[in-house]
Structures are given as C-alpha cells and as structure tokens.
C-alpha cells in the first residue's frame, strides 16, 4: 500500500438542468492507492462539507460493479481507463501522483444532466418497457426443465444479459446511440427458447422506441470498448438481423391480407 500525492481533480459542477455548468478544480493532497475512485470522491466531499461547501452529487450505489448506478466520464473515457471495469471498481492504483484527472457526467442528448455528475437515464427503462420482457404472468409457468436450453445458447444469452444498464455505451458513442444496450436486452431474450413467441414484436418495439430517444449506430465500436461488462457488438448484428427479419415478416403478412 502506498499513497498518491498532489492530485488535481477537474470536476463538472452544474446546479441543475438549466445551469450552463463549469469545471471546477479541487486538490487532493494525499490518498491511499487502495482507495477506489469513488472513495476518493467521498474523501473530497467530506473535505468540502468541512469547508461548508456543497458536496459533489454523483450517482453510485452497490460499489461492486453490478447495479449500474455509477457513471462518470474520467479523462474522456466512460468509467475511466481500466477496461471492463465500472467506475466503482476502479482503484487509485491505476493513477499516479501529480496527475490531473478530469471528471464529467455522461454526455448525451438522451441523458439530460440533473445535477453535477448525475444524469437522467430513464429512456433505457422506456426501451425495456416497450418489449424487453417475456410475457409470462405469475402462476402460469410450466415446469422449469420442460424446455431444455442448450448450454451454448444459455451461455450466449447470459453474455448478453450481463448488461448493467449504466449507459457507458451511449456516452462513448459519437452518435449517442443506445444500440449496444438495446441489442444486449433483445439478444438475451431472443436467443432463449422461452423468448421465441415474442421474438419479432420484441425487436421491432424495442428498436423503434430506442430510435425515439437515441442516435443511430454507425458501427464505431466505441461502445464495446467502454462497456464495463465487455459486451460484444456482435449482439448489435444479431439485433439488426432480427429487426430486418421482423420487417420482412410484416410485409409478408400485409401482402396476405
């Protein structure tokens, strides 16, 4: 264990949605390299309260990299410099003494800033509400082992289902697209036998809801690099394929009427 000395933090402060906001610099004299990035912010906030100043507002909760509440653009990278790691699991040993670290909220039209580093990610919920589910009302489920799920299928669905809904993919995307988030949810359910009944309506509803809020995907691949769960952009291809199929099926149905 050692300490980092003389860090400068440039942190985005914005009192509310209508405030234009600005960077403000803060100095951290010394911090243990065992501290997590958010614990460093806790220490800074304690110092600010001690000085009678308002603490910096930032979203966080489980601090285990699973709830998806934390965000933060750290030196221009969503969740900071460590690959496959959410901000809450980033530790100060990844930084060095004397560094200046810039901390911003997610920047995306679909995620308006609420205060300081907190943004509103509600459009993600709207996408799931549109179709990110399997309709199976409580009580009517068949015996769990009635439908075998091949192990590779279950594993692939799990790879997609690992998404924590943090929004890093949107923040990383130059277009502010939410394709990786949406594709992860679509693929998780569309891969499983249980999800087949609603496969085509699901992908249509979710993609079209996504497009109401977010930009379009142009295959930059920034999202995959930023994802704290390393979710593959292959799922975007899977989603696009299913979306296309759904549309063709609709045409076939329309031509029959």
């Amino acid at each position: 264990m050692k300490n980092l000395e003389n860090l400068v933090l440039r942190i985005w402060r914005q009192s509310g949605p209508d405030d234009p906001g600005r960077f403000q610099s803060y100095r951290i004299d010394s911090i243990s390299d065992e501290a997590s990035f958010l614990e460093m912010l806790d220490v800074l906030n304690e110092k600010l309260i001690g000085e009678g100043l308002e603490a910096i507002a930032f979203d966080h909760d489980c601090r285990e990299g699973i709830c998806g509440t934390c965000s933060l653009m750290i030196d221009g990278q969503p969740h900071g410099p460590q690959r496959g790691t959410a901000t809450c699991q980033l530790h100060m040993r990844k930084f060095s003494s004397g560094e200046t670290i810039t901390v911003e909220p997610w920047r995306a039209t679909a995620f308006p800033i609420i205060k300081d580093l907190i943004v509103d990610r509600a459009p993600f919920d709207r996408i799931v509400e549109a179709g990110g589910f399997i309709t199976a009302t409580t009580g009517g489920a068949p015996e769990a082992n009635l439908t075998p799920v091949p192990k590779p299928v279950a594993e692939a669905a799990m790879d997609a289902a690992a998404c924590i809904g943090c929004g890093a993919c949107v923040a990383a995307c130059p277009n502010g697209a939410a394709s990786l988030f949406t594709a992860a949810k679509v693929s998780h359910l569309n891969l499983l036998p249980q999800g087949q009944a609603e496969r085509w309506s699901r992908v249509e509803a979710m993609v079209e809801t996504m497009e109401q809020y977010f930009g379009s995907c142009t295959n930059h691949g920034e999202c995959e690099a930023a994802c704290p769960k390393s979710i593959s952009i292959d799922f975007i291809a899977l989603m696009n394929k299913d979306y296309l199929s759904a549309k063709l099926k609709n045409r076939a149905l329309i031509s029959r009427t």
Binding site: M1, G16, S32, A35, S36, E39, M40, D42, V43, N45, E46, L48, I49, E54, A57, D61, C62, R63, E64, G65, I66, C67, G68, T69, G84, T85, Q89, L90, H91, K115, I118, D120, A122, F124, D125, E129, A130, G132, F133, I134, T135, A136, T137, T138, G139, A141, E143, A144, N145, T147, P148, V149, P150, K151, M158, A161, H188, L189, L192, Q194
Partner: protein, 670 residues
C-alpha cells in the same frame, strides 16, 4: 433516560403539537396489539392450501378500484408489484433509485435454493424446510418456513419462463450446486450473478406492467413517513430526491419491500444507499420490530484495506464449494502462502466440522474466522484475514473449470485487491451482510398495522437467527410472487366500495409538515460533522459491541455511548447545500438519524436475549467447545418491540414459537 432528552428527541414533530387536532399525537402505538401469527389450521403440509381455500377473493373487475403502494423494487417489491398489477390492482411503485433495476438484490452472487430434487440426491420440501429451520437455529416460525419451501419450486419455474439464463448442463437441463448449511445440491445459479439475473427477470415483468400503464412508477422518490388513520395504514409520505418536494400518497394497502439494515454497521456488503428508514418510520407509527439483534455476518468478504473504505465486498459463499479456508498453524507466520507447507496449515473448518467442512453455515464460519485472526494467525498486510485457497481445485479440475464457475468473482477480487486468485489464495474476513430481524409480520405478511405489509429482507419471518446461503433470493421472490398477491386480496375484499381517507386528510398534512420540518432541521443545525462521520462512528460502536461477539458489559457500554453520540448528531450535524435540489448529504442525514434509533434497539434486544443462537452470539452463553448455547426454555420466542417514543424505552413483547413438526435439537454441523 433524562426527561430533557426525551423532549429533545422529537423536534421534527413539533408542528404536530401546535395543531388543534387532538388525535394527532406524534407517536401512537397501536393499543391492544396481540401477536397472533394467524397460522392456518391443519397439518403443516396442508396449511397453505387450507389458507388459499378459505381466503376471500376480489372480482377481477373490482381490482382496479384498489390502490396498492409498493415501496422498494428489489426482488420482493418488483415481483409483488408486477404480480399485483397482472391481477388488475392499481399499483404504485416507489424507489429511491433512478430505475427499479438498481435495487441491491442485484448484487447477490451465489444462487437460489429450491426443493426441485433435480439431482435425485434426496431433496424434498420437508428437507428444505428442516434445513432452513435448523440453519436459523430453531428461531423461526414453522408455518412460514414450510410455505417458503413449498413455493420454492414455483419460483424456479417462474424465473425460467421469465427468461433468466440459469446455468445449464450439456443436455440443456438446469444445473445446481451446493451452498452452506446443506448436504444437497439444490442451489440454482447464473454464473456468479444470480441476483442480477433474477432481479432483471422481475424488473422486466414490472417494466411490462409499467409500459401497459398498470403500474405507476415513482423513481428517485424516498419514503419519509407512514400514515396511519383509525388504526390502519392509510398510505405514505415521500420526498422527491430531485426537487425535495414532500408529497402524500393514499392507498388501500401498502407493501414495504425495502430490504435490511446491515448498513447500521457502516462497513457492510450492502449498497451505499441501503437503509432502515421505511421500516423505522413504520415502527414509529406502531409496527412492531422483531429480533433486531439477529444480524448476519458473512464469513467471506474482502478485508478492509484502509481507513477511507466506504463498503466491503462479498466473495460469494459458492466459492466455498471449491475453495479451502485456512490460516497458518503458527502465530505470526509471515511467510507467503505458497511457502507454507501443508503440514503447517490449519484448515480449521475441515478440522472442526468434518461433515460440512468448508460449507459450514455462515455464523459458524464467521466466528471461526474471527477466532483464527484473534489468535494472531490472521493473514495479509493488516493481519485481518484468512485464506480462501483454490490451488487444490485448480489442480484437480483445471483452471478453465474454475474460470467457468467463478470467473467474474475472481476478476472482481483482482480489481479490488490487485492480486490474482488463480495464483495466490484470496484473503477474506467476515462482514455485515444480511439482517434476519425486521418488521414483525404474521402468516399473511401483515405488520402489526393492518394494511401495512412487509416482504423480503425487511420482515423477520423466515430466516430465524441465521440465514442459509441462497435463501434470501428465495424468500424475496416467495413473498412477492406467491404470498402477498393472495394475502392482500384477503384483506382488500371486505373493503369493496368503502371509501378510504384521501391525501387531504389532516393526518397526511401533519405527516407532510413533520417530514418537511425534519429535513429542514438537518439543514439548520449547522454543526461541524457530516452525516458520514456520524455514520462511521455509529458503525464502530455497533461492530465493537453488537457484532460477531456480544457481552452484557459491551452492550451496556454501547447503550451508554449511542445516546450520547446521537445527542451530538442532533446538535453538531452539518449538512451543506439546500433542500430543493439533489442533496445526497441531506438524504444521508435522514437515514443516519433512523440508524441511530435502530442501533439502540438492536443493542437492547441483544442484551435482553440471554442466550446464543445463530448470528446472535453472547460470549456468556457457549458450551465447552465454544459453540452457541441456546436456551429453549426461556427464549424460544420472537421478541417484538413496540415503539413508545424513545428506542431506549421500547417495550418488548413475545410471540412464543411452537414447534409441532420439528424436534428442537442442538444445531450441530460436526
């Protein structure tokens, strides 16, 4: 307790006294509450069927006329809300998170138990029932636990239908593994992220109902009071965490699914925002609080690394399927683990509990770890851990198998500690994780306030004095999916076409004023210490005296230190910022305030329970081998506390536990 402190205790309630409405005293413990668990008649295996056969029903067309509030969107809350909405009720869901998907159920790693017997290893409802009662050290209610074991099988069916990607065998059938306190493989899992996948399953179902307009979601909204009118729960008062606006919500029935109070220790595996406020506000309005001293200290968490640490991270119990726990045999052995030969290692769990070995239950494993560290054999830079070693399993199964089973946990460990557990053993130490105590509920999950329900970890019902691994997810989903949707109907049916008090009722107005005043006061104190500072100090006292090892003298010390620190909190708190925009310091102040009162009740409960059972270990009551010594003659009961205006003066009531099916025995895992 000085009278001065008592008057000082409720400054927030002052406006209530100014009002002419005479009925509105700030604290109204419900008179003549009888602790009737309302266990249905009949043999244990038929009780739940008998209940369902006799319960009252609400016609589908009438359900829309009943409004049900659900506070919390974890496994219990989301599953209850989704199911109630599917049935047709008008459901309103409240969460302090930005999205219902964030609740801390998401962090559960290991798995969920169910008596499916897919392995053919001899599992049954009866066996899961027995294991759970024994695991809880014979301090839970037979009727409730039997029902839990019965519906466990339905949960797996429901979650598979919902699209939860559970681990599978190559043939496509569901895979299972073991968890502590059981000799069977009944734990279903989704890698090391079972809680996440189950919560997302319940969240999806809830999201569907939100999209259909059957559920109204109130996010970034925190409960700040519970309102009772004429002895029943009339609704809640919330504070909007973005605007600070305080608002009333009236309903026919209210469900609290707000989790446990492990954060009273400050350092715990709970998420940062987990708190007791909803349950505590209900307690202050007349809901009895049961067994607050039953807290679970989980044996395998990453040890504290430094003073700034804000929380501790759990390493799943499932790791003990393949990991072996050990410490050096000799005190002060500073060699690196690879240099300590087998003969100089003490695999103490395997030695002391040969039949369960590394899968001994949590309370027992935690105490054993504490003793190993206290004896000077702790490992790591701060000598505050024990090893959890995978070398043997990697040698036997190969690294790939271990990666498949625990890959994400190993990565998590590496991120936090900078060490690679494939190469060096993990270091672990016990930490506060789960709380078995909670709001007293009957068989219908009703608190002592009619119309107010408690589901999941916030109630006390099923886990006794110690919870077994993979049973929390089971209980949350059992309550939400398969119990509440029935029992709430039974309560609502007779209320058809009877008006309920609206938010313009003076009781709601008073509660709103009291909440506004309370939060205004936190801002007005302008002292010198932050809420986090007080929380940390509070946690130290509780951990020291009401943690893994409790004594009468220590608890008395805590009961003298806590009120003093609480006084300081009320006069020296500093909250910066304002009350009209996001202010996390202010949110924290409200939560810490309630943790103080709860902490006092915990210590009182621990002091009064003069026996050792499960997670409650009183040093004075142990046998010659250092195992917990229960006192069934005097303490085979639930302690349910009634609030009387001051937690130091809460009144203890008893619900005797009747064991008709199970024979009370010494709990042995040797």
């Amino acid at each position: 307790m000085s009278p001065e402190r008592k008057t000082k205790k409720a400054p927030a309630k002052k406006p209530a006294a100014k009002k002419p409405a005479a009925r509105s005293s700030p604290v109204r413990p419900s008179p003549r509450v009888v602790l009737d668990a309302k266990i249905p008649p009949g043999p244990i295996a038929e009780k739940w069927d008998n209940y369902k056969a006799d319960m009252k029903l609400v016609n589908p067309n009438n359900k829309r006329g009943f409004k049900v509030i659900v506070v919390g969107s974890g496994l219990a809350g989301a599953s209850a809300a989704a199911t109630l909405a599917e049935l047709g009720y008008d459901v309103h869901v409240f969460t302090f998170h930005d999205s219902p998907r964030r609740a801390h159920s998401i962090a559960a790693q290991g798995g969920i138990n169910a008596a499916k017997n897919y392995r053919g290893d001899g599992d049954s409802v009866q066996r899961l029932f027995y294991d759970t009662i024994k695991g809880g050290d014979f301090r839970s209610r037979e009727g409730n636990v039997y029902r839990l074991a019965q519906v466990s099988v339905n949960i797996i069916d429901q979650m598979v239908a919902q699209g939860v990607p559970f681990a599978r065998e190559y043939g496509g059938l569901l895979d299972t593994r073991s968890c502590g306190g059981s000799q069977l493989q009944r734990t279903f899992y989704a890698r090391g992220q079972t809680g996440q996948q189950l919560l997302l399953g319940a969240y999806q179902q809830l999201a569907r109902q939100i999209g259909l307009g059957n559920v109204k979601l109130w996010n970034r909204s925190e409960l700040v009071d519970v309102v009772t009118i004429d002895g029943r729960c009339a609704g809640i008062v919330t504070r909007d965490l973005v605007t600070g606006a305080v608002q009333s919500h009236a309903a026919h029935a209210t469900v609290l699914a707000t989790g446990g109070y492990g954060n009273v220790f400050f350092l715990s595996t709970n998420a940062m925002a987990c708190n007791i406020t909803a349950a505590w506000r209900a307690h202050r309005k007349g809901a009895y609080f049961a067994n607050p001293c039953y807290t679970q200290i989980h044996p395998t968490c990453i040890p504290q690394a430094d003073e700034t640490q804000s929380k501790l991270t759990l390493m799943s119990e499932s790791l003990r399927n393949d990991g072996r726990i050990w410490v050096p045999s000799r005190e002060g052995d500073d060699r690196s683990p690879s240099q300590i030969p087998e003969a100089e290692r003490d695999y103490y769990l395997e030695r002391m509990y040969p039949s369960f070995g590394n899968l001994a239950p949590r309370d027992i494993s935690s105490r054993a770890a504490k003793r190993a560290v206290d004896s000077g054999r702790g490992v790591g830079p701060l000598k505050n851990g024990v090893y959890l070693d995978f070398a043997a399993a990697i040698g036997r199964l190969g690294r790939d198998v271990i990666t498949e089973r625990y890959g994400n946990l190993f990565e998590m460990y590496e991120r936090i500690t900078g060490e690679v557990p494939y190469e060096v053993p993990m270091r672990v130490y016990p930490a506060s994780h789960y709380t078995m105590g909670g709001l007293w509920v009957d068989y219908e999950l009703t608190t002592t306030i009619p119309g107010l329900y408690a589901a999941g970890e916030v109630n006390f019902a099923d886990q006794g004095a110690n919870r077994l691994g993979a049973s929390a997810l089971m209980q949350g989903l059992a309550d939400g999916y398969f119990v509440l949707p029935y029992t709430i109907g039974n309560y609502l049916a007779p209320m058809l076409n009877k008006p309920i008090p609206g938010v313009d009722h003076p009781e709601f107005q008073l509660a709103e004023q009291a909440a506004s005043t309370r939060f205004g006061n936190y801002l007005d104190i302008r002292g010198s210490r932050s809420p986090d500072w007080f929380h940390r100090e509070l946690g130290k006292i509780i951990w020291e005296h009401c943690g893994m090892d409790r004594t009468a003298a220590g608890l008395r010390q805590a009961l003298s230190d806590l009120p003093a620190l609480y006084e300081e909190f009320k006069t020296d708190l500093r909250v910066t910022g304002d009350g009209a925009s996001v202010n996390q310091t202010l949110e924290k102040a409200g939560r810490v305030d309630d943790f103080f009162e709860l902490g006092m009740l915990m210590c009182r409960d621990a002091l009064e329970r003069r026996e050792s059972c499960g997670g409650h270990f009183r040093s004075e009551y142990q046998d010659s081998e250092g195992e917990a010594q229960r006192d069934d003659a005097n303490f085979a009961h639930v302690a349910a506390w009634e609030f009387t205006g001051d937690p130091m003066k809460a009144v203890r009531h008893k619900e005797e536990l009747k064991f008709e099916t199970i024979h009370l025995a010494k709990r042995s895992y040797k």
